[in-house]
């Protein structure tokens, strides 16, 4: 290649300005508020913090929040992949319209979504009455939380996957077929490695969005202590009682758990991406430690 050119910051100038802007922007909008929050909890003693963060209701709310978010993100990962695939690969009438539908959950105020879903899935609602006959109750149970989160996070997986699937030419599949690959092999060996990193990104975005979701969930959750209370509701509950420190403590716990989970998912993604890159370069499949080292070594 061209080592001289590679040493430069790039073809376009403005690296320093750009970096400075990026850092300032992120500091103002993300770092300062978060650091302020963590500093604010410094007013609490460790014992108080721990008592608040590990109370029975708080623990139950973490389970509900992270469990429902994982469930919703997983379901969306599966069905989002199908939706993205269909939208990219198959021509059908009204495709643009269906494509536009995917973005609706972004545009709708989440409270509206929550109220609508609660009404639909309530025992006398359009959908809820049929589910009730089967003995399934959705509205005002943890299942309702999952439904609301699926709705709110639907676009993430679809929208991250679409451009990646568009990049895979149909000829690649055909080539695999002519070389004797079965359909399943074509999917797992040829397509999946290419879309896996983007798929994981979509999953992560959906998951992180779901953890913080409040507006739609509280209308369908039922909000029963220990059963269907999400952590953001507990935070609001504490604020309503002017327990601002307690609310911040819960927020910090959520922040830490989210950060750790996102970090793990990101590592997984780096690993997958570098494994994919390596196997494409014709090397033997890299083991995980190797991949992590490569990921860590990247600028």
């Amino acid at each position: 290649m061209f080592p001289a050119a590679a040493k430069r910051d790039g073809v376009l100038p403005g690296f320093r300005l750009g970096l400075g802007y990026t850092l300032t922007y992120l500091t103002l909008l993300v770092l300062i508020p978060l650091a302020g929050m963590i500093l604010f909890t410094g007013q609490m003693s460790w014992g108080d913090f721990w008592a608040t963060a590990s109370s029975e209701r708080a623990l139950a709310s973490y389970r509900v929040t992270f469990g429902a978010s994982l469930g919703a993100a997983a379901i969306n990962a599966l069905f989002g992949l199908i939706v993205a695939w269909v939208l990219v690969r198959y021509p059908f009438p009204g495709k643009r319209f269906v494509d536009a539908l995917v973005d609706l959950p972004f545009a709708l105020p989440t409270a509206v979504a929550g109220i609508t879903l609660a009404t639909l899935y309530a025992e006398n609602g359009w959908i809820g009455q049929h589910l009730a006959k089967l003995g399934i109750q959705v509205a005002f149970t943890p299942l309702g939380i999952v439904v609301a989160l699926i709705f709110v996070t639907l676009p993430f997986v679809v929208r991250t996957l679409q451009p990646v699937i568009e990049d895979i030419e149909a000829e690649v599949e055909e080539a695999a077929a002519t070389l004797g690959a079965t359909r399943w092999q074509t999917f797992t060996r040829v397509l999946l490695p290419g879309i896996f990193p983007a798929w994981l990104t979509g999953f992560t975005l959906a998951f992180s969005r779901a953890i913080g979701e409040f507006g739609s969930v509280i209308f369908i959750a039922g909000n029963m202590p220990l059963i269907s209370e999400i952590t953001p509701l507990l935070i609001i509950s504490k604020l309503e009682q002017y327990d601002i420190l307690g609310a911040t403590a819960l927020a910090v716990v959520m922040l830490v758990i989210s950060f750790v989970m996102l970090l793990v998912i990101n590592l997984l993604q780096w690993w997958a991406a570098s494994r994919h890159a390596k196997s494409r370069d014709g090397d033997a499949p890299a083991d995980a430690a190797d991949a992590l080292a490569i990921a860590g070594g990247r600028p």
Binding site: G222, S237, L239, Q241, Y242
Partner: protein, 332 residues
Amino acid sequence: MNKFSSLLLAAGLALATGAHAQSNLLNVSYDVARDVYKDYNPLFEKHWKEKTGETVEIRQSHAGSSKQARAVADGLEADVVTMNQATDVDFLAEKGLVATDYAKRFPDNASPYTSTMVFIVRKGNPKGIKDWNDIAKPGAVQLIIPHPKNTGNGRYSYLAAWGYALKQPGGNDQTAQEFVGNWLKNAPLFGSGGRDATTTFMQRRIGDVLVTFESEAELIAKEFGRGGFEVVYPSLSILAEFPVAIVEKVVDKKGTRELARAYLEYLWSKEGQENAAKNYLRPRDPEVLKKYASAFPPIKTFTIDEMFGGWSKAAATHFKDGGTFDQIYAQK
């Protein structure tokens, strides 16, 4: 940066005051008070114009009561606050924004109107719900209320049930906690707010009884028609007071003390009281109450002060972390 923003602010203020050479007042209030004050403000503006010749502009801000109190504490320049619970004004008093004896600065505990908690049941009252104990029978009925810990409406319901249990023969804190525990076991869900609970009950048709403010009953009738429900007045209920106060720090700074005082005092005038009654809130003025007697059947009530020794004590005992509400749910 700081200099620049203050310059910008000064310029903005100069522009604003230049454009409106009139005094203005900001009333920071709770959510469902929108209608009351929407009707009240023009009445006061007219009254003030007649009395002083001055044109005054009243601005309103509405959101959840506690959220509003926090906003004022954080610097929202409210001249007056009109809240739905004393806790919210007490919080401002603690922060030094409102006089600590605010409740004595106006008549009637500084609450120009009141309401009480009543039951909304399905037409014909098929479950025969007459009083609080009918709701506390295990599994007999489904109760719909907003979250008792997070909403003013829910807290009033909770305390009303508690107070009723205390007043029963042999009633004490232990029996009351048991009673309220049974009562809450009949709640399949907690609404996120008063209006959300109403929607769940009226539109989604979940539950047999909705406990809410008397003033909500009329709004339900307006929204859903009178055909679908009945209002049941229990034998004893709680008196919900809606305290108002002057934000001392702000009126001193803006020089609006006179205006703010007049604005709040006028709530007790015949016009102010009639306006409250028209918005289904019980007026304090006995004559006005008599005039609207058909809308306000007599009901025996107790106040938070009488039964619980004030809001801050009630909140600490029942709704703070580890309070009776948490204890009830920990037992489950």
